[in-house]
């Protein structure tokens, strides 16, 4: 007859085993998830670093099959397109965020919030289609402007929501202090509220920027890509993610190498841009300020 005590212990043993197994499973998931991350960065560095040289950064692509050449125009094109996107998207996003925080505690504000969240979930390729219809068809060209517009549309919802969030964190007491001094509402909102929330708002903008900087799909039929330099707003323009894509799916080994290099440059530029802005914001604040 099994001793009731040992039976008790047996149950405990099984339960302890499952407990350990669960822990083991959880740890292995962490390993499995972090492995690709490490692998991707490792490959980026290993395969990319060797190909980043002066000619890569300063030359335009050579015809397929010829060795050499670079992605200089793609880097420049990305800068142009992202510049247009920021010019269009950042003011609108911040403005909408200001509306939601300072004027928007009503039905209309709720609908803007809702639509903003919906826009966030729209696949980027669909936004490319819409930008194509709105800009490319009108201009009768692929263009940097169309690419910038598509990316701007993607930036706006993120910037709107984070700006609203940051502005709501500014205590009402500061607004009251400004009103009490006879400062009109527009001045209070800009010079006091927005000013106080500056670092948070900028973080939100950089988040949106970093997200669209690597986007390829919406550029496929807006900016379209270009083998040469282009600074005009109404002509097809190269972009770094586009170039990486084109090279990666090509049959040429040399282009594959350059795709890795381009990918590494892309990541470095995104991280550098975000870090630079973070530093600038921190430098601008006073000793003891929030």
């Amino acid at each position: 007859m099994p001793n009731p005590e040992t039976k008790q212990l047996e149950i405990s043993l099984w339960r302890r085993i499952t407990d350990h197994l669960a822990t083991l499973f959880a740890i292995s998931t962490v390993v499995l998830v972090l492995a690709p991350l490490i692998a991707i960065f490792a490959y980026l560095v290993i395969k990319g670093v060797g190909s980043i040289n002066l000619s890569f950064l300063t030359q335009t692509p050579k015809p397929p099959g010829e060795a050499g050449g670079g992605m200089a125009n793609a880097i420049a094109g990305s800068v142009l397109i992202l510049g247009i996107a920021s010019l269009l998207g950042v003011p609108v996003g911040i403005g909408a965020g200001i509306y939601l925080s300072e004027f928007g505690r009503n039905r209309f504000g709720d609908s803007v919030r809702f639509v903003s969240d919906v826009l966030n979930g729209v696949p980027s390729i669909v936004i490319g289609i819409v930008a194509y219809a709105l800009v490319v068809l009108r201009q009768k060209h692929f263009s940097a402007l169309a690419g910038g517009a598509a990316l701007a549309i993607m930036m706006i919802p993120t910037i709107t929501r984070t700006t609203e969030e940051m502005l709501l964190l500014v205590p009402g007491a500061l607004r009251e202090a400004a009103y009490g001094l006879g400062v009109p509402r527009w001045r209070t909102t800009l010079s006091i509220v927005l000013r106080t929330a500056t670092s948070g708002v900028i973080t939100g903008v950089m988040l949106a920027f970093a997200r669209v900087a690597g986007e390829t799909a919406p550029l496929l039929f807006t900016a379209f890509g270009n083998q040469f330099w282009n600074w005009k707003l109404d002509q097809p323009t190269a972009a770094l993610p586009l170039q990486i894509f084109t090279y990666a799916i090509s049959p040429y080994d040399d282009w594959h190498r350059q795709a890795w290099a381009g990918a590494l440059v892309l990541i470095i530029l995104i991280v550098a841009a975000v870090a630079a802005v973070r530093l600038a914001v921190r430098h601008g604040t006073l000793g003891g300020a929030a």
């Binding site: 639509v115 826009l119 549309i153």
Partner: protein, 332 residues
């Protein structure tokens, strides 16, 4: 409030002191201008959505009139003969996304459970940070890595192994190209783990500590406590996170396009190449000749748009119901 309407300025002496702000403007006009500009910005958000819906609907009219509902269950994609059926793409999108979910959910939930319930405190930050870093990698770089690292591994090691062991299921037969549905599913899984994991973490953290303590006090092991007190409570939110991940997978374009093979065929085996809705748009939109061709593609875009909106809405509702969304904050 009757009385003679005279407008007093800031300089009107109410007493014997003259203020340095005497004669300053009261900014009423600027206030009005400011509120108009701000309102316009908010309206722009609504207008953008309106434009998206309008363009998708109007540009797909041609294809809709030509094919009607049949568009979505015919599988003949023949641009040369103006025959367009979207079934292969719908199939490809669904299968790749579901495969991605199958792989991603256990991983994501595992990571979330580890970081919130099991990990030592000092490890939590770094793991969360690294998982978020996964979310920041651009899709095209995932695709790049998938083509040159993942696919060769699949072709040389994984697929032969699967064919040998699980080939009888019919899911793993055919030549091991490497490229195909399996590769797409795997890279998609890596890409959606961060979002599922972060939502799961959010809803796990919200579970009250008393629930955990009650289970432990009854003599539960840590895993039993997690299973009974934490996961069960956070169920709705986790499902919401999963659905959000699904939404992300459905719309993902670049990485999938680069490894799925881009062949509009429906096959049972995961080794076979496929095609998704997003991929066909990426590959064929800029080369579409003919209005019907373009319209058919836009109609696919419209379908993708509607599906992702519905999926995302469901997901957000579920997550909101667990965490009660953003607390309604007035000015602090």
């Amino acid at each position: 409030m009757t009385g003679p309407q005279r407008v007093a300025g800031a300089g009107e002496k109410t007493g014997s002191r003259v203020s340095p702000l005497a004669g300053s403007a009261d900014g009423v006009l600027r206030d009005r201008l400011f509120s108009y500009v701000i309102l316009a910005c908010a309206l722009t958000v609504l207008i953008i959505l309106f434009l998206i819906v309008y363009e998708l609907l109007s540009s797909s009219q041609l294809a809709w009139k030509a094919f009607g509902w049949h568009f979505f269950w015919t599988h003949d994609w023949d641009p040369v003969n103006d025959q367009f059926g979207a079934l292969p793409f719908i199939y490809g999108t669904l299968v790749s996304s579901l495969l991605a979910l199958l792989l991603a959910v256990p991983l994501a939930v595992g990571v979330a459970v580890f970081t919130t319930e099991m990990s030592p405190k000092w490890l939590r930050g770094p793991i969360s940070f690294l998982t978020e870093l996964l979310a920041a990698i651009p899709s095209v770089i995932y695709g790049l890595w998938a083509i040159f690292v993942l696919v060769p591994i699949l072709r040389t090691v994984v697929q032969p192994f699967l064919a040998k062991t699980l080939g009888w299921t019919g899911l793993f037969e055919g030549p091991p190209y490497g490229i195909g549905m399996l590769a797409a599913g795997i890279i998609l899984a890596v890409m959606i783990v961060p979002i599922i994991s972060s939502i799961t973490r959010e809803v796990l953290v919200v579970v009250p500590q008393q629930q955990r303590e009650a289970a432990l006090a009854l003599g539960a092991t840590r895993w039993e406590m997690i299973r009974i007190a934490v996961l069960r409570n956070a169920r709705a939110g986790i499902v919401g996170g999963i659905i959000l991940g699904l939404g992300r997978a459905l719309g993902e374009t670049m990485a999938v396009t680069m490894v799925i093979g881009n062949r509009p065929e429906i096959a049972k085996s995961l080794f076979a190449p496929g095609y998704t809705m997003a991929s066909v748009l990426a590959n064929e939109f800029s080369e579409a000749t003919g209005d019907l061709y373009l319209s058919a593609l836009v109609e696919i875009g419209l379908a993708l748009f509607i599906v992702t909106i519905i999926v995302n809405a469901m997901a957000r509702f579920l997550v909101w119901s667990v965490t009660r969304g953003q607390p309604a904050r007035g000015h602090a």
